[in-house]
Structure formats: structure tokens, C-alpha cells
């Protein structure tokens, strides 16, 4: 699995994005939601459309040993969904892989 090619970081990606649509504030929002019972769901909104989210989700599923999917949303673009509370994992991973800078991350939830 080569995540290498994901590492190319466009410093102007945010600028392009935020001028594109003002729903994206240049931040990557990591949220948690409760599902039925004790189960939870982690969503990652605001990743640059330059990235191949399918590849990211594949890598994450393997890394965190959880299920995940990419959801297309009319307003928010492609959103990553992972089962369970993966907020800590995904934040670390996104930073480590160089996809997102720490100051771009906004973690929500309890």
C-alpha cells in the first residue's frame, strides 16, 4: 500500500477550496455521532477534493481495523465515514500522512 503519492501537498488547496464554496472553511471537521445503542460513527468532512478519498478510506480501514465508507454529499462534498470513535486515530493519521496540517483539524463531539 503506497500512501506516498497522497503526500503531495498543495499549499494553495485551501485557498482554492474556500473560494470555491463557502461551506468549506478550509478546516477538516472530525465529528462523532451516536448510532443505535452504544455504537458510534466518525465523520471527516472537508478533505480536499484533490485527494482520492477511496484510497484514504481503504488505508484507514486497514490501519484502524474498522469499517468505513465515502459518502457523497451535495453540500459538503465527499465525506469519510468510519465506524466507531476513530477521532484520535484519524487525526493522527491525517497529520502523519501529511494530508492535513494540525491547525486545519477541528475535532467536535463530547
Amino acid at each position: 500500500m503506497s500512501i506516498q503519492n497522497l503526500n503531495t501537498f498543495d499549499p494553495f488547496a485551501d485557498a482554492i477550496k474556500s473560494s470555491e464554496d463557502d461551506v468549506q472553511d478550509g478546516l477538516v471537521h472530525v465529528r462523532i455521532q451516536q448510532r443505535n445503542g452504544r455504537k458510534t460513527l466518525t465523520t471527516v468532512q472537508g478533505l480536499s477534493s484533490e485527494y482520492d478519498l477511496k484510497k484514504i478510506v481503504r488505508a484507514c480501514k486497514k490501519e484502524f481495523a474498522c469499517n468505513g465508507t465515502v459518502v457523497e454529499h451535495s453540500e459538503y462534498g465527499e465525506v469519510l465515514q468510519l465506524q466507531g470513535d476513530q477521532r484520535e486515530n484519524i487525526c493522527q493519521w491525517l497529520i502523519k500522512s501529511g494530508l492535513v496540517k494540525p491547525e486545519q483539524l477541528k475535532v467536535h463531539g463530547f
Binding site: R31, Q33, Q34, N36, G37, L41, V71, V79, H108, G109
Partner: protein, 308 residues
């Protein structure tokens, strides 16, 4: 709380008086007795550097003093001015503890500390009127030596001057920010009640709607205020989880981003919210509350049925 405030500074004052005459003797001789009395009351005074005895005396930082004498009493007597390197890590440690306090306690630890100092000043002005003497002492700190001043010293100095020149600011800072913790009770298996939601809104001087929007957006769920003015939230949440979110709310929308005073007003200007501070006058925009993406979590069949 108020009793504390009055009680504490008076102790300090006494100490200050003592050390005023001769700080060498004071440091070497009386630390044993005085610290044993005052140590427990101390919460953490960080901003004063430890290499300057005059400073210590002036501001009544007993903790520093205590530590110093504790660790190298003899060294201190011999080589008075140069002791800082040995104590550097200690200070940092203190700072860390302080930060932790800040995070845990709803009442701002840093402010508490400041307030103590303020009280000291106020008290002194009122009772002894030794303003001048005080000022002289202060100047002495800076006149007597040719060393470089540390950032902390300079900071302390500028704050002291500010406090001295703005008594109104001092009194404004005196009000404390005390909030009852949220009362969170489970209702059945799928819902949670936040019983004192309305009360907390009042304490924070914020519209219930605003706090509601924030809570629901952060928790990624739905909910509403019922007839008993309690908030019913869908999903299971524990008290500490709600408290966590509340703390973030306070940090972003209640306390001033510049001076941390809770005496602020949230104004809506066109589409943005601004936090206007009544204490320091600062005004800054705050993040707008957005739920953002919400995943579909209900039973899909039910949703499909609804849509058809």
C-alpha cells in the same frame, strides 16, 4: 470565597511586612515558620522569576520562596543573585499544573491568582497607605542591578502598573465565574436529560437557542427544551461529556479571547457573531455554529418509507 480572598492576602501582607526590612535575614531566618503556615493556602504563583529576592518580597510569592529555601538555603545565603538555572524546571512544572487547573476548573485559576495580587494591592492602599514605600521598593528592583530582566518580570511589572493605574479594572476582575455543573440524567435507553440547561444559560448570559445549537451540533444529535425547561437530547450522554462540550462553549463564546473575562456580550452582526468584552473592550468574531455533515444513522427502511 470572599472570606478566602480577604484571609489570604492578609497573610501575605504580614509576610511582606516582615521581609520588607531585610530580605536576606528574612529569607534565611523566617522562611521555616512562615512557609509552614502558608504553604497549604498557596495555589500557584508562577509569573515571578525566582532569581530576584526583592521581587519575591515585593509581591509576596511565598511558594517560590519556600521552594528556594527548601532546595538551596545555604547556596542562597552565599551567592544571592545567581540561582536561577537550578530552579528553571521547577517553574515550568508549576506552570503545567496551573494550566491543568485552568482546564479543569470552571473558575479560572490564572485569574484567581491575579485577583489575589490585586487584593493585596487594594488592601495595602486602604489600610496602610504605604503606597509610596511600595513604589520605592518596586523601583529598587530595577535600579539596583544591571542584569537582564526576564520576560516574566517585565510582564509582572507591566501588569502591576496597569492595576495600579486602573482601579476600576481591578474591581471588575473581582467578580468570579462560578457555574454549577450540568445535571445530566438518562431517560430510558435512548434519551438524555440536561436538567439545568436553562439555569446554565442564565449563568452564562447566553440565549438558550445559541447554547442549544452548539450542543446539538457538537453532539451530532437532535433535541429540544421541554415544558420543565430541561433539555432532552437524543442519544446517551454522560455528565462529563456534556461538561466537556460546555467547557468548549464557554471558551469560544463566553470568556473573552483576550483577557478571559466572562463579562462579555455576544452580538450578532449581519451573519457573524462577535464577542464583546466588557472588561478590556476587546471585540472579536467567533466561529459560527454549524452542524456540518450528518451521517444517516436511523433505520434506513424507516427513512425510505418516509421519503416515499
Amino acid at each position: 470565597m470572599d472570606e478566602d480572598m480577604i484571609f489570604d492576602p492578609s497573610l501575605k501582607k504580614k509576610k511582606k511586612k516582615k521581609t520588607g526590612f531585610d530580605m536576606d535575614a528574612a529569607l534565611a531566618g523566617e522562611t521555616g515558620e512562615s512557609t509552614s503556615v502558608e504553604a497549604p493556602a498557596e495555589t500557584g504563583d508562577v509569573d515571578v522569576p525566582e532569581d530576584d529576592n526583592l521581587d519575591l518580597d515585593n509581591f509576596g510569592k511565598k511558594k517560590k520562596k519556600k521552594k528556594k529555601t527548601f532546595f538551596n538555603l545555604e547556596e542562597l545565603e552565599n551567592t544571592l543573585p545567581e540561582t536561577p538555572p537550578t530552579e528553571e524546571p521547577e517553574q515550568q512544572e508549576d506552570e503545567a499544573v496551573d494550566d491543568l487547573d485552568l482546564n479543569i476548573d470552571f473558575t479560572n485559576a490564572r485569574k484567581k491568582k491575579k485577583k489575589k495580587n490585586i487584593d493585596e494591592f487594594v488592601l495595602e492602599d486602604d489600610t496602610k497607605g504605604e503606597d509610596q514605600e511600595n513604589a520605592d521598593d518596586q523601583h529598587g528592583v530595577w535600579v539596583g542591578s544591571d542584569r537582564d530582566y526576564t520576560y516574566d518580570e517585565l510582564l509582572e511589572r507591566v501588569f502591576d502598573i496597569m492595576r495600579e493605574k486602573n482601579p476600576s479594572m481591578v474591581s471588575g476582575k473581582k467578580q468570579k465565574f462560578i457555574m454549577r455543573p450540568p445535571q445530566v440524567v438518562r431517560i430510558g435507553t435512548k434519551k438524555t436529560s440536561f436538567a439545568n440547561f436553562t439555569e446554565i444559560c442564565k449563568t452564562l448570559h447566553r440565549q438558550p437557542k445559541h447554547l442549544l445549537d452548539f450542543l446539538l451540533a457538537e453532539l451530532g444529535t437532535s433535541g429540544s427544551v421541554d415544558g420543565n425547561s430541561q433539555l432532552i437530547i437524543k442519544g446517551r450522554f454522560q455528565q462529563k461529556q456534556i461538561e466537556n462540550v460546555l467547557r468548549r462553549y464557554i471558551k469560544e463564546y463566553v470568556t473573552c479571547h483576550t483577557c478571559r473575562s466572562p463579562d462579555t456580550i455576544l452580538q450578532k452582526d449581519t451573519r457573524l457573531f462577535f464577542l464583546q468584552c466588557e472588561t478590556c473592550g476587546s471585540r472579536c468574531s467567533v466561529a459560527s455554529i454549524k452542524s456540518g455533515f450528518q451521517a444517516v444513522t436511523g433505520k434506513r427502511a424507516a427513512i425510505r418509507a418516509k421519503n416515499v
